[in-house]
Amino acid sequence: MATAEVLVNGNQNDWSDRYYHVDQILDKPGPRTDPSFLAGEEVKKFLREACKILVIGAGGLGCEILANLALSGFKDIHVIDMDTIDISNLNRQFLFRPKDVGQPKAIVAAEFIMNRVPGVKVTPYFGKIQDKDEEYYMQFNLVICGLDSVEARRWINATLVNMVDPEEPESLKPLIDGGTEGFKGQARVILPTVTSCYECSLDMLNKPTAFPICTIANTPRLPEHCIEWASVLEWPKVFKDKKLDTDDPEHIGWLFKTASARAKEFKIEGVTWSLTQGVVKNIIPAIASTNAIIAASCCNEAFKIATSSAAYLNNYFMLIGTDGVYSFTFEHQKREDCPVCGGQALDITVNKEWTLERLIEMLIERQDVQVKKPSLTTATKQLYLQGPPQLEELTRPNLEKKVSELVEEGDYITVTARTLPFDLTLRVTYA
């Protein structure tokens, strides 16, 4: 029977019984399977011959995702990653070996998968997701993200939400997103414009540990404060425009020496090389097993969506493995005022006495906005622009003016920023 399938699928690489395990799922429905499931040849043909899937990230999650997809029967896989392989990747990114250090992750991972799993085509792109346009993303049936950057996730999320054309069902690309930290992780399914999107849940992220500048400058107490002093205040003072490269051991060495000297001066203990690197690179602990769990959940959802063999996750799964195994599956709700998928302006209440500068500070601090260096405009005027320099200079005096003098109650302010992949609209009320 399996031999007959090979002939039907016409793929010379599919030996008899190759898909013995997966086919048990694809040959008949389970008790919870949706009636639209087309068991048998049709679904296998779609999965193995037509379905095209994009994997963003070829790191800790990406390596696992590529292997799982290949074994599950996806044959046309694309992968994007802008990074090269580092020795610290080797404790979990299992498609890489010491000889590969310095090589592009996407290319090495793609070659490894194609060597190990016959008949699977993996097309790598060594570069940024922002290099690609809507036409590129439109070619895929599904997108899986294994990223460690909030910025990149916001970008792909906003891009896929923007691509949805209600007249064109094919334009809706399910986005499956995973993330891990130590023994914890989460996987979620986003149907752009239908379910809650990445931007809707921005406030669920842990607030990054930011130390107040006055603590760093005047009252350091922890070794971290000394390291921040070295990297944030001393580096630019000593090296002027030379950019700090956190991958350069000489740069880390200088920071470590400088932070150690300050720690000694203040009798603070605990500055080590490893802590210095951890603080300046914002290192998140990562292990193979947690990545395996989360990548498997992502691929399981991709497989269920591509085949309809079982209902897909609605829409968020989180797992904590520190104390026994605790997991929580729930539906994350859409935010009506989500700037990406909600379509409504974000209502903000501003104190009548606040200056424009104070408003900008508030936007930077807000966990559901997360913006750095925003530019603000209204329909009729430029409130403050970060660049070019002439316009910055021209609008700078506004920073000290009261917002209430610049914007009428109920008016809209548009916020743009280099790190923000969309325009954020605010509606202002005064308190």
Partner: protein, 534 residues
């Protein structure tokens, strides 16, 4: 004496030197995991020897996640010959070219290439046969952990009985899966966790039970005479010690206990301010919870004091002998008439809004007193325990955990317990029962030909009793099992590979808290749950 001092300085200097150099290649390779389990966890992993029964897709997925972080050694024991189906679902076989060759032998080199420092070997033998011989039993019992995937029911029975028969035999991790459903169970007598990395009990700062240096500081400091800058830099710990002192003086020596009293206590703190925007006083109010409930010994730790060791004599070679010796020492420390009547001070101090000088001074006060208490608690400690172990134990004394496990299969023989669990956790218990029923049917016909929904339901009834009403969830579970009774699908295998490796790492490093009971997994509705651990 002077020799000892210079020796300790050498160690300090040597340690400082290690911490001030760029790390070596091994440290760089393991950096992201050393930040979790540190050198002590890594050493434990590197000394471990793991036996895996089967080289299925799930088994190799587990091994991948143990070889990468660097266990010492693994052996795959499996007599299977690679089938075309194996070559299709297992990433650690070389595709069609492995077909017809011993599966374990094909998998070992592809796993070993993940990490040069890990030893691995294949033993192409049948585990059932092996367990019939004394040599075979000795071989299996000599590992630090044994993991079995979809092993036949009667073989799992034999294996679990063997490994349960001696307290020094290794824990056994039993893994079962079919299609979208899976479960695993860890059989162990006792797991002592000195570093659970959970944050449920915050180490006490002894604000309501202050040691002399703390009391002196608080009472010698005349808040009112300080200038505004100094006043704005008093550490919250000192503010709270002072506030508690004042409260007790006007409340018959009692602490604020009721809601109104607690509110009044916070108001008392607010009145101590000089200006409304003193952040250290905001912090003192926000941290007032530290005095609401600060038992001398957290309940969970107190209950460990009454725990009888599994080996009454506690000889030095008994399992967890060091941990139990430390536990007894801790108990003696708490009950010593001249002691604080509480757990020793951990020495850790959270960051707080204050100036550098006050913070460093307070940190020194805590560290010095923690050292005093550590010395005092050491007096009773068996000499065989290293300084490092004592340090870790004292630092984590508020969190330590002891788990007592069960023999695999014990729960399945307890009809009453199963029926009760079925009514409290229907979907988890139903899925476990379904997998147990499937295993029974597969032992009759390994190809799955005897598996039907009706046959599975009948097996479940045999386990729980005929008159127990089965929940709706059982139909979902057995329907899914009948659909794919022998399917080791890649995503489930990878998911289990991660889950089981996490548990293996917890068992080996004795850091983090492992699952006690059956961890059941459903990848259709994507949930996990634990049953049968009571």
């Amino acid at each position: 004496m002077s020799a000892a001092v210079s020796e300790s300085q050498d160690i300090e200097q040597a340690t400082a030197a290690i911490h001030s150099r760029p790390p070596d290649n091994k440290t760089r390779r393991y950096d992201r995991q050393l930040r979790l389990w540190a050198a002590s966890g890594q050493n434990a992993l590197e000394s471990s020897r793991i036996l895996v029964l089967s080289s299925s897709a799930t088994a190799t997925a587990v091994l991948k996640n143990l070889v990468l972080p660097g266990i010492g050694h693994f052996t795959i024991l499996d007599s299977a010959i690679t089938s075309p189906a194996d070559a299709g679902n297992n990433f650690f076989l070389a595709g069609p070219s492995s077909i017809g060759k011993p599966r374990a032998q094909e998998a070992v080199p592809l796993l070993r290439e993940l990490n040069d420092s890990v030893e691995g070997e294949a033993v192409v033998k049948d585990v059932k046969e092996l367990l019939r011989t004394d040599d075979g039993k000795a071989f299996v019992s000599a590992f630090s952990l044994v993991i079995a995937h979809n092993l036949q029911k009667d073989t799992t029975d034999d294996l679990s009985k063997l490994l349960w028969s001696d307290l020094n035999y290794p824990p056994l991790l039993v893994v079962r899966s079919a299609g979208f459903l899976a479960e695993f169970f860890i059989q162990f007598h006792e797991q002592c966790v000195a570093q659970p990395h959970t944050d449920e009990n915050v180490p006490s700062l002894r604000i309501i039970r202050p040691f002399s240096a703390l009391t002196q500081w608080a009472s010698s400091l005349d808040f009112d005479s300080l200038d505004p800058t100094e006043h704005g830099h008093i550490p919250f710990v000192i503010i709270l010690v002072k506030a508690v002192e004042q409260w007790k003086a006007s409340h018959d020596g009692k602490l604020p206990a009721t809601m109104p009293e607690r509110r009044a206590f916070k108001e008392q703190i607010a009145e101590m301010r000089k200006k409304i925007d003193e952040e250290n006083f905001d912090e003192a109010e926000a941290q007032a919870w530290r005095i609401w409930s600060d038992p001398p010994v957290p309940g969970a730790v107190q209950s460990l004091f009454g725990l009888a060791p599994l080996t009454p004599g506690l000889t030095a070679d008994a399992p967890n002998a060091g941990f139990h010796a430390l536990l007894r020492t801790l108990e003696a420390f708490v009950s010593a008439p001249d002691g604080p009547g509480s757990l020793p001070l951990s020495g850790a101090l959270p960051d707080m809004r204050t100036d550098t000088e006050s913070y460093v001074k307070l940190q020194t006060v805590y560290k010095e007193f923690a050292a005093v208490e550590k010395v005092r608690s050491r007096l009773v400690i068996a000499p065989a325990i290293s300084d490092e172990e004592v340090d870790t134990f004292v630092k984590n004394a508020h969190h330590i955990r002891v788990l007592r496990g069960h023999r695999w299969g014990e729960w399945d023989a307890d009809k009453e317990a199963l029926a009760s669990s079925l009514s409290i956790f229907p979907r988890e218990t139903a899925t476990h029962l379904g997998l147990a029923a499937l295993s029974n049917l597969l032992s009759k016909a390994p190809d799955g030909s005897a598996v039907t929904v009706d046959a599975l339901r009948a097996e479940v009834h045999k386990l729980v009793g005929d008159n127990v009403e089965l929940p709706e969830d059982l139909e979902s579970a057995i329907g899914e099992l009948a659909r794919a009774p022998t399917a080791d699908v890649p995503n489930t295998a990878a998911f289990l590979g991660g889950m089981v490796a996490q548990e293996a790492i917890k068992m080996i490093t004795k850091q983090y808290v492992p699952v006690n009971g059956y961890c059941v997994i459903d990848m259709v509705d994507m949930w996990t749950g634990t049953v049968g651990g009571q």
